[in-house]
């Protein structure tokens, strides 16, 4: 296959699968979904391999070149994010069916609709990672937002539906701000292609207003503090496989778009202190998110607040705008994606096995679910940024950048953030390990099937291995570094 065709397939195949999964009888959906996952994931990994071998790939759809036509573009950043999505999707395809079957008999409907909705989400994510056109990215944002809201609503409970409605309203509001910004950019530049726009934009009122609107819109979707308020309820009340998708992948898509827009369009024309503001908000998010996570009594809420904190790290790049920090930020997106997906799936398993997710009632739970709590600990290592995990490598790069630049507040925040993460993860493990466990309970039936326990373990292991293989993503990234950072 022509490598450029891969880009088109990566969006169209999940779209087609979503439609097929909707039409297919409910009994067929799991098998078809798993088969489709295998296909889509192989394509994504193949594309990452191609980019690693031959450098960035572009394709103009319908053979109409920009500015008239729409371009898809796969560089190192896209390749890594596509690969991350594939690596999360594969274990998920094994875990989700088992989870939906076990969760509640009445939710067979949720299990049946999970597949088409997740395929739509996957298509939207791939599109956003590949988008070279601002308006096309808008359609991608809406596709992703609607699918995410519907996935949250699969929870079915009142709390899930309320969180979904709030998420929907804010996501739509964010898209509106983004679209308004795109309208102004079109008025100023007369093109929608990212690269072309970057080459010709000037620092005038319209482009500054557009930057502000687009940034605000995408911050709402990425849930950077102070726009994080919708996230904990939505991520914590969704079914566990959905939480893994939302926290691990969906918030990263709007972040990647923001990253491209800032460093490809706006950075060349100078931003003044705007990047500093985002960096400071990132620090605030690390602190506030961690403090809130420590106060939570339910595991899923703790994990959701931890996402608020960990997303803060991503935004340090806007203040530390150098190559090292860029690599660190992307590496953090990858390792957080894997570790957080693992953690949410493990949290879902705990709820299934124990029937509750109260942290203070976990006494001795680690004895019942050794593999699941091992997964929690392993994912925690990456979230805390301990060696040799991916989280460690990412934070190390950011730390080095901050020290090189002499930005001491950032040095303190990066190190402090790890301590804070330990502050909310250790109590969880302590409760689970504390107390002697009644050995009689280990007899009898297995609490969880291996389909439920191994996928999160695999994800957590990948997050750990990422630190040992950090050179691979780094070499992919060096090809697609934005001009403004070189």
């Amino acid at each position: 296959m022509n490598p450029a065709d891969l880009l088109v397939w990566l969006v169209l195949l999940p779209v087609l699968l979503a439609a097929l999964l909707f039409v297919a009888p409910e009994g067929w959906r799991t098998r078809l979904g798993q088969l489709g996952t295998l296909l889509c994931a192989s394509l994504a990994l193949l594309l990452a391999w191609q980019v690693l071998q031959h450098g960035p790939i572009s394709v103009a759809l319908g053979n109409w070149q920009p500015p008239l036509g729409i371009r898809l573009h796969a560089d190192g950043l896209s390749a890594l994010m596509l690969a991350l999505t594939a690596l999360v999707a594969l274990p998920l395809a094994a875990h989700a069916p088992a989870w939906f079957v076990r969760h509640e008999a009445a939710q067979s409907r949720a299990g049946a609709f999970f597949w088409p909705l997740w395929m739509f989400q996957w298509a939207a994510l791939n599109l956003l990672f590949l988008a070279g056109d601002l308006f096309n990215a808008y359609v991608g944002l809406e596709l992703s937002g609607l699918a995410a809201v519907a996935l949250v609503a699969l929870g079915g409970q009142r709390a899930a539906l309320e969180a979904a409605l709030r998420y929907l309203l804010l996501a739509l509001f964010g898209s509106m701000l983004y679209l308004l910004g795109v309208a102004l950019l079109y008025g100023a530049g007369g093109v929608l292609d990212l690269t072309l726009l970057g080459a010709q934009l000037e620092a005038d009122h319209a482009s500054r207003a557009a930057l502000l609107l687009i940034t605000l819109g995408l911050l709402i979707k990425t849930a950077l503090l102070p726009f994080h308020f919708w996230l904990p309820a939505a991520h914590a009340n969704a079914p566990a496989p959905v939480s893994a998708i939302l926290s691990g992948l969906v918030v990263k898509a709007s972040f990647v778009l923001l990253l491209r827009i800032w460093f490809e369009i706006f950075h060349p024309i100078g931003l003044g202190g705007a990047g500093e503001v985002l960096g400071a908000l990132g620090i605030a998010a690390i602190i506030w998110g961690s403090l809130q996570a420590m106060r939570q009594e339910r595991i899923k809420l703790l994990v959701a607040w931890s996402t608020v904190a960990q997303l803060g790290y991503l935004f340090l790049i806007f203040a530390l705008a150098v190559e090292l920090a860029w690599a660190g930020s992307v590496l953090h997106a990858l390792s957080h994606g894997l570790a957080k997906a693992a953690l949410f799936l493990a949290a879902g398993n705990i709820v299934l096995a124990l029937g509750h997710d109260q942290i203070h009632r976990l006494h001795g739970a680690a004895g019942k679910l050794p593999l699941t709590f091992f997964t929690v600990a392993l994912a925690g290592v990456s979230l805390m940024g301990l060696p040799p995990s991916g989280g460690f490598a990412a934070k190390w790069l950011m730390l080095q950048a901050a020290i090189d630049l002499g930005r001491w507040p950032y040095v303190v925040a990066i190190i402090g953030g790890s301590l804070l993460a330990a502050g909310y993860l250790f109590p969880l493990l302590r409760h689970a390990l504390a107390g002697t466990h009644d050995p009689r309970q280990r007899e009898g039936e297995r609490l969880l099937s291996r389909w439920l326990e191994f996928p999160p373990l695999l994800l957590a292991t990948l997050a750990l291995l990422l630190g040992l293989m950090a050179l691979l993503p780094m070499s992919l990234l060096s090809g697609g570094m934005p001009v403004s950072l070189r």
């Binding site: 969006v11 439609a19 759809l61 909705l117």
Partner: protein
């Protein structure tokens, strides 16, 4: 510019702003919906004024028609029995009010400064589109952009439409908004007369789309309107989502569109690069498929899915 035109422009613009304000400040939800429908009508007139007949058509069908009916249906459902929704009090506290007012004012100032400072003459893609119309599958510029130059956007837009139905059905079946509907002979007579006209108009709009304003979306909305009228008058019945044929029909537009995209890709031309001479035919096929899908989609979003069991009750 003549005085009358100037008066018309001023009146249209000012009444649009006034209407938006009254709509959003309306004390009752019913009033807000009625005003929103009127807002759609005025928007359609403004689109006409701005030489955007395609958008005027879409707005007349959607803003003034479909969205209003969807809102009314939702309101009818919300108002059955006690309320219901976790609605918090309107925002209280003068400080919050002040901050909010400043935000709105700030947005207006920001946009005004940006708009007044735009370059002249404005950069535009018109110079790119018009010379290429001969090679495109449609001679009407907007249709050519939608289904050829930027067909990728339109394909994904159709994905969004199907996603909306999948998402709505994933919430479970919801009954018809007004279960007490009984057949009224006057209404059914009216619908019987109107129906052929609606179908005819839809066909006319698709056919015109190739060379003049119109197209699948507008035509599909007219079809949807006809379908909703059937349901409202009690002549038609909602979908049975359990039957795979309905679901296949709902997805057919997306199947056709992705089929064309993947077909052109596999033939070696590149996705959505229509082979020479086939452009017009392929675009017409896509448009016809889309019209049917869009019509069914909006009916499905209005009526919801009905379980076979529920239907029997």
């Amino acid at each position: 510019m003549s005085g009358v035109t100037l008066a018309l422009d001023l009146l249209l613009g000012l009444s649009l702003v006034w209407l938006a304000w009254r709509t959003l400040a309306s004390p009752t939800l019913f009033g807000a919906i009625v005003l929103f429908i009127a807002f759609g009508l005025l928007m359609a007139l403004v689109w006409a004024r701005l030489d955007a007949p395609d958008i005027a058509l879409a707005e007349a069908a959607v803003g003034a028609g479909l969205t209003g009916v969807l809102l009314l249906a939702a309101l009818a459902d919300l108002q059955q029995g006690d309320n219901l929704l976790p609605v918090r009090e309107p925002l209280r506290g003068w400080l919050l009010q002040l901050i909010l007012a400043l935000c709105a004012l700030g947005l207006f100032t920001l946009l005004t400064l940006a708009l007044l400072g735009l370059p002249s003459p404005p950069p535009s893609l018109a110079g790119q589109v018009l010379p290429r119309l001969d090679g495109a599958g449609a001679s009407h510029p907007v249709t050519a952009v939608l289904l050829d130059f930027r067909a990728w956007d339109t394909l994904l837009e159709i994905a969004v439409l199907l996603l909306a139905v999948v998402a709505a059905w994933s919430l479970g079946s919801h009954p018809h908004p007004n279960p007490r509907i009984v057949g009224s002979e006057v209404l059914q007579g009216l619908v019987r007369v109107l129906l052929p006209f609606a179908v005819l108009s839809a066909g006319y709009l698709v056919w015109r789309g190739g060379f003049a304003p119109g197209g699948a979306f507008q035509a599909g909305t007219v079809l949807a309107a006809a379908g909703i009228l059937l349901l409202l008058s009690g002549l038609g019945r909602p979908f049975n989502g359990r039957h795979w044929l309905w679901r296949a029909l709902l997805a057919s537009g997306l199947f056709i569109f992705t089929g064309v995209a993947l077909g052109t890709l596999l033939l070696g031309g590149g996705a959505l690069d229509y082979p020479a001479g086939l452009g017009y035919g392929l675009i017409l096929a896509i448009e016809l498929g889309l019209t049917l899908t869009i019509g069914l989609t909006f009916i499905a979003l209005y009526a919801g899915e009905q379980d076979a069991a529920e239907e029997r009750e």
